[in-house]
Structure formats: C-alpha cells, structure tokens
C-alpha cells in the first residue's frame, strides 16, 4: 500500500479482554496524519483518547483494521523492527515527562540515538544542540530530579527530536505544568510545526486544541465523534 500519509488508521478497533468481558476501547477509527499537520486528538478522560494515542503512535496493535506507518502495515513488522521504525518516525512527549531518572538531561536526550546505533560523538554533539534549542544548555549535566517540571518537559522535547523524526506525538504535554510553563512548551511545538514537523497533540483541553491545532479528531465513547478543521481561523466539521 503506497500512501503519502505518514500515519493512517483504517477502521481500527482495539478491544481488551477484562475477565470474561470484552471491552471495546475504541472502534471504527479512521485517522490520517499527513506531513506538516498539526493535529489534536481530543476527548474527555475515558473516551478512548489514550488508546487512540497508543495506536497512532504504533505503541499498540489494533484488534481490527490496519495501521500504516509510512506506508507499512505495522502488523507485519517484527516488534523490534517496529521499535526501530517508530523511533525514527515518531518522537514522543509524555504528560509525566518520563525521563530516565538515573540519566542526566543530556544522556536522556542521547538515549534514542543510542538505540539507533549513532556514534557517541555525534550523539553528544546533537544532544548539545537540542538542549540549546530548548534553552537548557546549562542544565545538560543535571538529573531530572534537579529540574523543574517545565525544564523536564523541555528535555523531553529535545529527546523527542533526537532522531529527527517527522512526527512529534505529545500526550497531554502541559498536563503536569503550570500555565506559563505549559505555554512555553506549546510555543516550542508551534515552532517545530512551522519548521515542518508534524505534531499530534493528545489532550482533553478543547481550548488548547483549538488554539494550536489545525485539525481536531474528537473522540467520545471509543468512537470518532467528528473531525473539525480550522480554515482561515474558523472551525468547520469536515467529517462525522
């Protein structure tokens, strides 16, 4: 299947077995992520938003339907190959930062490059450059517990950019931050999008989604409620 889209979810469903019961976390999802998009996946908690994020980020496999990552059906990939492709195509930013506590800021940024067997001097140079980009060049040798939440999230952004991925998938990136720090993070994401990165923002916050994204996938009760698109500053429903 040859597709221009970076990520495609086609009629995707994800069911979980909970005891005897089958829980349909999401069903009938159709999502398309094109290069340069700023997409928001939005929904209240319990809507299936996190499951959707995992599927979009190729962190999970679909029970039904197909997920294509740069045109490859991820179902057909070995777990390790998928990990490698995912690591090159998508950079992740998590709500709770998820930095490795024993590693310094710089080592955290170098980690994705390590798994892609990039030479250590290249890793170091790139990590320095990325930390500078997020304004933390003087915090490189600090451990996560020596950094504020906002700083940790900026390290996470630097880490997400380490392998120069096309897509940044940010799961509630401002969820654990105060307004000001959150605003800074969103400005970085905006800037990255302007520079050509595709951004997928997963959030429950409609204001945040409407302020930054250009396409919003509204998830409710495990289904795609609607897709809205911002055209010339106004929101239009393009699909429901």
């Amino acid at each position: 299947m040859k597709e221009k889209s970076l990520i495609i979810l086609k009629d995707v469903a994800r069911y979980y077995q909970l005891g005897d019961e089958i829980v349909k976390a999401v069903d009938g999802l159709n999502i398309k992520v094109n290069s340069g998009d700023f997409i928001a996946i939005m929904g209240p908690s319990g809507s299936g938003k996190s499951t959707t994020m995992n599927l979009v980020g190729s962190l999970d496999l679909a029970t039904k339907g197909a997920i294509y990552l740069r045109g490859i059906n991820i179902e057909e990939l070995h777990e390790s190959d998928l990990a490698q492709i995912r690591g090159r195509v998508i950079g992740f930013i998590f709500q709770s930062f998820n930095l490795i506590p024993n590693l310094t800021a710089k080592e955290n940024v170098m980690l994705p490059m390590l798994f892609h067997e990039i030479e250590s001097d290249v890793r170091e140079a790139r990590a320095d450059e990325l930390l500078k980009l997020v304004g933390l060049e003087d915090r490189a040798e600090h451990h996560p517990n020596q950094l504020s939440g906002g700083e940790q999230q900026r390290v996470a952004i630097a880490r997400a950019l380490a392998n120069n991925p096309e897509v940044i998938l940010a799961d509630e990136p401002t969820g654990n931050l105060d307004t000001k720090a959150g605003e800074i993070i969103m400005q970085y994401l905006e800037k990255l999008n302007k520079e050509g990165k595709t951004i997928i923002l997963v959030t429950h916050d409609s204001n945040l989604a409407q302020k930054h994204a250009r396409i919003i996938y509204h998830i409710r009760d495990g289904r795609l409620e609607k897709v809205t698109k911002k055209i010339k500053g106004k929101w239009f429903v393009v699909h429901n």
Binding site: D60, E79, G87, H116
Partner: protein
Amino acid sequence: MLKDYFLMALDNIKHRGLRSWLTMIGIFIGIAGVVSLISLGQGLEEAVIGQFKSLSADTLIVQSSSSASYLGPPGTGAVRKLNEHDLELIKSVPGVKMAIPRLIRSVKIEYNNVAGFKYLASIPDNQEQINYIYNIADLKIYEGRLIKPGDKKKILIGADFIKKEQFGKEVKLGSNLKIQGQSFEVIGILDKTSSLEINNAALMPESDLKEILNITDEIDLIAVKVVSKERVEETAELIKRKMRRDRNQKEGEEDFSVQTPIRAFEAITTVFNIVNLVVIGIAIVSLFVGGVGIANTMYTSVLERYKEIGVMKAVGARNSDILQIFLIESGLLGLAGGIVGAILGISFALFVSFAANSYFGQELLAVQISYPLILLSISFSFLIGILSGLSPAYQASQLKPVQALRA
C-alpha cells in the same frame, strides 16, 4: 553500544546503593569462602603435615594408646607405660632395623629467675640413633652444635627459647638453664622447624633426663625404623600382633598404638577433605542464595522500571537492547560481588595466616594467592549474575511498550 549499556547498568547499580550491596552478600560469602579456603588450604596442609614430619616414610611410632587422645607429650597420660621389655620385643620383630626409645616430658625450666613449662625430650646415647632422630625430626643447628654421645649436663634448645618474652631475657649459647634444680648448659640452638613442639622443646641426653626425673624403666614412645618403606605396614602389623600376644590382649582392645606414616597422612587428608567439602558446600549454598538474591533484585528492578522500559521501547529500543541492558546489570552485580568476595577472601586468608603466625611465632601458615583461581571465581560469579538475570531480563524485553508505559 555495549559500553553505553555497561555505563547505564553501572549507574543503576550505583543508584540503588545499599540494595545493590545487600544483593551481593551471598556472592561475597560464597566467593570469599572459596578463595580463602584455597589460598589457605595448601599452606594449612603443609603446616599440619609439618607437624607429622617426624613420621618419615620408613618410621613407625609405638606408644601407649591412651596418650593418643591426651594433649601432652606422648606417653605421659598412659596408664601402662612402654618399657625396656617392649623395646626388646619390638627389636626382635622381623623387618625392624632399629628401635629407639624416647622420653618426652613436660618440665619446669628456670632461667633468669623465670620459670616456664617446656617439653623435654631425650637424645639417645648412640651416634647412629642420634643421627636418625636428628634426621627424622628434621633438626638443624642454628647456633652451637648438636648433642653427641658422651655429653653430660648439656642441652639443645628449640628456636622459641631465644625469644625474649619467654624468660624475660634471651637465652644464649652457653647460658645455664635450671631443670629440676640442676644446671644445664645450652650447647646448641635449633633452627626453626615446622613442628611447634620441637620449637618449644629442649633436648638432652637420655641418661641425664632419666637421672633428673628418676626414670628407671619407662619409655614414652618408640621410634621404629623399618628396613624398607615397602614393609612399613607389614612390620606394623607384626609388632601389633607380637605385643598383643605378649600383653594377652585381643584385637581392638590394645592399650598401645602403632602409628604408621601412611595412616597419619590418611587421617590428615581425610580431615582436609571434610573441611574442603564443608566449605565448598557452604560456598555453593551461598552462591545459590546469591544468585537468587540477584534474580530477586532484577525482578524488582524490572517492576520498578516498567515505565523506563516503555520509554526506551517507545524511542526505539529493540527487545534485544532491553535484554542486554538488564543482563549486563545482573552480570555486573555478580562480577562486583565476585571481586569484592575475592578481595574479602584474600584478606581473610592473610588475616588468618598473620594471626596464626603471630600466635605461634613463626612462618607456619603461608597464603598462596592463585591468580587463575581468582580470575575463575570472578568469572564464575559473573556467570551466576548473568544466569540469575536471564529470566527477569527476558521478562523485561518482552514487555509491550503500551503495557510498560501504562504502569
């Protein structure tokens, strides 16, 4: 790559601090046990065998058997002493080349107005027998000369006598020691031997010893030289049979014993084998417990780091990367345990050797450090670490990223 994983693992181990050390205790004990045992073992064996050196291959020792369990000079605790009659009896046994009566007693020796209890042993009156005794006991002169037939009121002293702390003043060549109120001139000082008794003993002509202690017909032990070492066992059997008949005793009810060098060595070897088995047993159990400890720590570590594993997988770590990271960590725990264990083992061996040598006042117990052994123990503990980490590491590597991130 591996270097980075290695550094990461090291970081994790350091980060866990005390928990890492506690994990390694089993390995410490196991490896320390093996290393100290083997480092000391050979020295210990030599030291103990040295005590039996007087038992040269063609020599039998006959003594009253009650003295075998009596911690004192042989013969002194015996109910029925050996005597001239027994000596003659032994001399008549075929295969016996020479039978030398010996007296060994504990006596009070005075010098510089300080009294001390020392062993006093007799030297035969005949040159051939003297030579034989000097030879089997490995007696060499350090200063002065040995006792000759015809010497009167002369004594040889063991190496420990010349220590100042013995009598508050060094005993020198020509010094006079008082034994049972009589004065004896020191004509020779012996070289240190591996036998503790000899270093702490004085030797004098048999006639003098008998005279000062009023001994008429008593013998503490009889050293028997057999015509050839091939006939030692056979001759021992003949002596026993003859003495049993003479004393009208049944087999197993003898009140005397005939010690052959082979038996003595067999006894020592058996003791060493048992000690080795016990220590090796403890070591195996400790290493097993150590391995379980590492596995437990690694399982905990995997549980604690679910999220980290998830993040690493999200950013591109393959299953094999995760497997390697955790295996290196468990291997390092084993390796560090092995290194510390080896250091502890060597230190313990050196300490025991130092303590024994200062207690006995001589180079009795030598430590032999075998580098191949140390290398082997450390590699082995590294292997234990790896093996113990296999299951937790595999579990970690198989985690699904989404499942790990949710934790």
